[in-house]
C-alpha cells in the first residue's frame, strides 16, 4: 500500500539525480510526476490535479526550483503554497441574520454526518457565541433520524423541533422558524435527509425548502474520506442550492482528505468547519494550511504545536527542562508529564501529526493503547514518595509490593524501571546536544515515552 508522503517520494526521485550540479527540466518533470501521484493517492480529483500540476510545473521550471540547492524542498514549498492558496484563507464565521432567527440548512449525501454535525454546530453556537439554537428534525425518511436528533438535543440540553415522520419537510421548517421567533431563539439549524445529488425528486425538495425558509447559510456536509466523486457531489449541490459553505467530517480518521481540495476547487466555497471526533464538542475551525500538509502526508506540525501550547504549562516545562539537564528527573515528574500529554488528546492522534511518523517502522501501525498508560500510572502511583524520587532504592520486595498495589506483574514493574532509566540517559544526551546547538530546539518539550 503506497501511502508514504510526498516528501519521501521526492527524496527518492532526487536520490536518483544526485551528482548533478543543477536540476534539469527533465528532473523537474520527474518531480512533478511524483507530486501528481501523491495528490491522486490522497483522493484529489483528477482534473483538479491536472490544473494544479500545470501551475506547479510552471513555477518549478521558472527559477524557483531549478536554481535551488534543495530542489526537493523547493518543490514541496511550491506545492504547499499552491494547495494552501487554492483552499483559501481560514473562514469559520457563521452568518448572523439582521432579523433573527438566523437559519442554517444542513445538506449532503447519506451518512456524511449531517445530524451529528447539526448537534455539534448548535453546541458551538451556544458555547462560543452564546446563542440559543433550535434543532430541526427535517429528515423524515431515514428510520429513527428524528430520534437521533432528539437524543442529541437531550445530551446538549437544547430544544429540538419535530413533527414526526408523516409531515412535509417544508412545513416542518416553516413551523420551526415560527417557533423560534415566538420563543426568541436566535438560530434555527435544519437537519435535512441525506440524498444523492442525482436524485432529482429529493434535490427538488431541498430547493423548495430553501425557497421557503430563505436560509442565511446552506452548509454542505461532506465525508472527508470521499474519493474522486467529491467533485460531482459538490458541484451538483452547489449548482442546485448555491451552498454557502462546507463542513468536512470524520477528519479524525486517517484519510488524507484530498476531497477538501476537490470541493474547494469546483465550488469555490469556503470549508468552514472540520468534524474531529464523535463527541459533540469535536467540531473545529478548518485550517487550510494544515490540510495542505495532511494531503501531502507531511504531518500536521502546526496542530501539534498548538495542542502542546494549549496544554503545557510553560513554567512547568521550564522546570522540567532544568531537571532533565541535571538528570534529577523523577517518577513524579514523569507522571506530571504524562498528564500533560494526555490532555492533548489521544496519543495516536498526536503521533499522526508528527511528520514522518507514518514512515517510521515502529510507529506506523503502533498500537497506542491508552490503557497501557493507565497501567504505567498505576505502577508509579503504587510507589512510595522515596521510591519515586530515587528508583535505585528498588529491590525485589519493593517491586513485589508495587506490583501487588497496582495489580500488574513484577515483570511489568521491571520493564517500566528499565525504560525509565534509559529515558533518563537519553534525556541527558539530548539536553547535552541542545546545549551545543544553543537553543535551536526551543523550550524543552519532549515525550518521554515515544
Amino acid at each position: 500500500m503506497a501511502f508514504e508522503g510526498l516528501a519521501e517520494r521526492l527524496q527518492q526521485t532526487i536520490k536518483k539525480m544526485t551528482g548533478k550540479g543543477k536540476v534539469s527540466e527533465q528532473d523537474v518533470k520527474e518531480m512533478t510526476r511524483e507530486v501528481r501521484l501523491a495528490l491522486l493517492e490522497a483522493d484529489v480529483n483528477f482534473k483538479v490535479v491536472k490544473d494544479l500540476i500545470k501551475r506547479i510545473k510552471e513555477r518549478a521550471i521558472g527559477q524557483d526550483v531549478m536554481e535551488s540547492l534543495t530542489p526537493g524542498q523547493q518543490v514541496i514549498k511550491v506545492v504547499k503554497e499552491e494547495l494552501t492558496a487554492l483552499m483559501g484563507g481560514e473562514q469559520s464565521k457563521i452568518a448572523v441574520s439582521e432579523r433573527p432567527p438566523t437559519v442554517i440548512m444542513m445538506v449532503g449525501l447519506q451518512g456524511a454526518g449531517k445530524t451529528t454535525t447539526t448537534g455539534k454546530l448548535a453546541n458551538l453556537l451556544r458555547k462560543k457565541h452564546n446563542r440559543k439554537p433550535l434543532l430541526v428534525a427535517a429528515d423524515v425518511y431515514r428510520p429513527a433520524a428524528i430520534n437521533q436528533l432528539e437524543t442529541i438535543g437531550k445530551q446538549l440540553d437544547l430544544p429540538v423541533f419535530s413533527l414526526g415522520t408523516e409531515a412535509n419537510p417544508i412545513d416542518i421548517a416553516n413551523q420551526a422558524i415560527k417557533k423560534a421567533k415566538d420563543e426568541h431563539l436566535d438560530y434555527v439549524i435544519i437537519d435535512t435527509a441525506g440524498r444523492l445529488h442525482v436524485d432529482e425528486h429529493l434535490m427538488d425538495e431541498l430547493q423548495q425548502i430553501k425557497q421557503n425558509v430563505d436560509p442565511d447559510e446552506v452548509f454542505l456536509v461532506v465525508d472527508s474520506m470521499t474519493g474522486q466523486d467529491a467533485v460531482n457531489v459538490a458541484e451538483s449541490f452547489d449548482q442546485q442550492l448555491n451552498i454557502s459553505g462546507v463542513v468536512l467530517t470524520k477528519l479524525d480518521g486517517d484519510t488524507r482528505g484530498g476531497a477538501a481540495l476537490s470541493i474547494k476547487a469546483v465550488t469555490n466555497k469556503p470549508i468552514k468547519f472540520a468534524g474531529m471526533g464523535e463527541k459533540l464538542d469535536e467540531l473545529e475551525a478548518f485550517h487550510p494550511e494544515r490540510m495542505a500538509s495532511r494531503i501531502l502526508g507531511m504531518g500536521d506540525v502546526l496542530s501539534l504545536i498548538e495542542k502542546a501550547q494549549d496544554n503545557v504549562d510553560q513554567k512547568k516545562a521550564q522546570e522540567l527542562e532544568e531537571k532533565m539537564r541535571s538528570a534529577s528527573f523523577t517518577f513524579d515528574d514523569f507522571l506530571e508529564q504524562m498528564d500533560q500529554v494526555k490532555n492533548m488528546g489521544p496519543l495516536e492522534d498526536l503521533i499522526g501529526m508528527i511528520p514522518g511518523a507514518n514512515k517510521m517502522k515502529g510507529l506506523k501501525n503502533a498500537q497506542f493503547d491508552e490503557k497501557q498508560l493507565v497501567h504505567v500510572e498505576a505502577i508509579i502511583q503504587s510507589m512510595t514518595k522515596k521510591e519515586r524520587e530515587d528508583p535505585s532504592l528498588m529491590n525485589a520486595s519493593r517491586k513485589k509490593r508495587i506490583a501487588k498495589g497496582s495489580g500488574r506483574s513484577v515483570s511489568e514493574v521491571n520493564r517500566l524501571l528499565k525504560q525509565f532509566e534509559e529515558m533518563k540517559k537519553m534525556m541527558k544526551q539530548m539536553t547535552n546536544m541542545q546545549k551545543g546547538k544553543k537553543g535551536k530546539k526551543g523550550k524543552g518539550f519532549n515525550f518521554p515515552f515515544m
Partner: protein
C-alpha cells in the same frame, strides 16, 4: 465473440438477469441506450492505440477510484499485451481491458459471482462492521428482508449501542421486515448485547442472526479492540461463527477504503464487502484494489433506497458499470 457481445448476451439471457442488469445499469450509469454508439464513438476517437489512448484510459479508471497503483499496473500489463499481440484496433484493446479488469477481480479462483456462507438447517451468524455512516444498519434491514422472503427465520441484534438513535433505527427495520430485534439500552456493552443476540437466536431456532455494530474509524485502536471482542464472543458461543464478517463500504469512499479493509480485517477477519450507495455517480472502483491486495471479495452491492435494492455482487456487471463511463465521449 467480443467481450461486450458476451456481456450483452449474458444479460439478455433470462428475465431475472435482465432485471438485475437493468438495476446495475440504472444504478451505475445512464448510458444503457447509447451503449453501443458510445463504443463506436471511442473507437472513432482513437483510431490508433497510442499513448493518448492509454492516458485517457488511466484518467477514467482513476476517476472511478480504482487507485493509482492498480491503474498503473493495469496499464503496464495492457501495453505489454498490446505489443505482444501487435494490436492496433482499439475495439480489440477494449475487450482486453474489460477482460483484464474482470481478471483482476476474479483472480485465480475465478470468483466472478458472490456466494454467501449460509448454513443449511442451522444458525448462521453475520457480523456487520465498518466506519461511520456507510449504511450498516440499512444493509442489515435490506438483507433481513431478502432472507425473510426466502423463508428464513431472521433475528437482528442491535450492537450499535453508541450512536444516538441507532437502536431505534434497527427496530424500525425489524418492524418493517417483521423480524425480532434483540437490544439493550443505549450505552451498554456491545459484546453483552451480541451475546444475548446469539442466545436468543439459538433458543428461537433462527436461521440467520444479523449483528449490527457501531460505526468506527479504523484508526481508533480501542474501538477496534472492542470489535474484536464482539467477534470473539460470537466465536466462543458458536464454533465456526461468525460465518460472514461483512465490511460495509461506501462507494463514494476513495483510497481510504483500502486502509479500512486492511484494519478491519486485522481486527475481525472480514470475509466480504457490502458496497453501498452505488446508485450515485460514484463507482466504488477501490474494491478492485481491495480484492487485488487483500483478497477480499464483494458480496453485495446497494443500488438504491428501496428495501429490495440490495443485490448479490456480479463482477461482470460491475466492470460493465465502471466501463460504461469510459466510453462517454465528453469525458477526459
Amino acid at each position: 465473440m467480443s467481450f461486450f457481445k458476451k456481456l450483452k448476451e449474458k444479460f439478455s439471457g433470462s428475465e431475472e438477469k435482465h432485471e438485475v442488469s437493468d438495476k446495475y445499469k440504472s444504478g451505475l450509469t445512464k448510458t444503457r441506450d447509447t451503449f453501443s454508439s458510445k463504443i463506436n464513438n471511442l473507437v472513432a476517437r482513437y483510431r490508433k492505440v497510442d499513448e493518448d489512448f492509454f492516458e485517457d484510459l488511466e484518467e477514467i479508471l482513476i476517476q472511478a477510484d480504482v487507485g493509482v497503483t492498480t491503474v498503473m499496473d493495469l496499464i503496464d500489463e495492457l501495453k505489454m499485451e498490446v505489443k505482444r499481440q501487435n494490436m492496433k484496433d482499439t475495439e480489440k484493446v477494449k475487450d482486453v481491458i474489460s477482460e483484464k479488469l474482470v481478471e483482476i477481480y476474479a483472480g485465480d479462483d475465478d470468483l466472478t459471482k458472490a456466494n454467501l456462507r449460509l448454513k443449511e438447517n442451522d444458525l448462521s451468524v453475520f457480523l456487520f462492521v465498518g466506519v461511520n455512516g456507510v449504511g450498516k444498519t440499512t444493509s442489515i434491514g435490506k438483507l433481513a428482508h431478502q432472507l425473510t422472503e426466502q423463508g428464513k427465520k431472521v433475528v437482528l441484534v442491535a450492537g450499535d449501542t453508541f450512536r444516538a438513535g441507532a437502536i431505534e433505527q434497527l427496530e424500525v427495520w425489524g418492524e418493517r421486515v417483521g423480524v425480532e430485534v434483540i437490544k439493550h439500552r443505549a450505552g451498554s456493552d456491545p459484546a453483552a448485547v451480541i451475546y444475548d443476540g446469539v442466545q436468543a437466536a439459538k433458543s428461537r431456532h433462527a436461521d440467520v442472526l444479523l449483528c449490527d455494530t457501531a460505526g468506527r474509524l479504523q484508526n481508533k485502536v480501542n474501538l477496534m479492540n472492542e470489535l474484536s471482542k464482539v467477534k470473539r464472543v460470537i466465536e466462543r458461543e458458536i464454533p465456526g461463527a461468525p460465518h460472514e464478517v461483512l465490511l460495509v463500504l461506501d462507494a463514494t469512499t476513495g483510497q481510504n477504503a483500502l486502509s479500512q479493509a486492511k484494519t478491519f480485517s486485522e481486527a475481525t477477519d472480514v470475509t466480504g464487502i457490502v458496497l453501498t450507495k452505488l446508485d450515485g455517480t460514484a463507482k466504488g472502483g477501490i474494491v478492485l484494489a481491495i480484492r487485488k491486495e487483500l483478497n477480499i471479495p464483494v458480496k453485495f452491492v446497494g443500488l438504491g433506497e428501496k428495501v429490495t435494492d440490495l443485490e448479490m455482487f456480479d463482477a461482470h456487471a460491475f466492470v460493465y458499470g465502471l466501463f460504461a463511463d469510459m466510453i462517454e465521449p465528453d469525458k477526459g
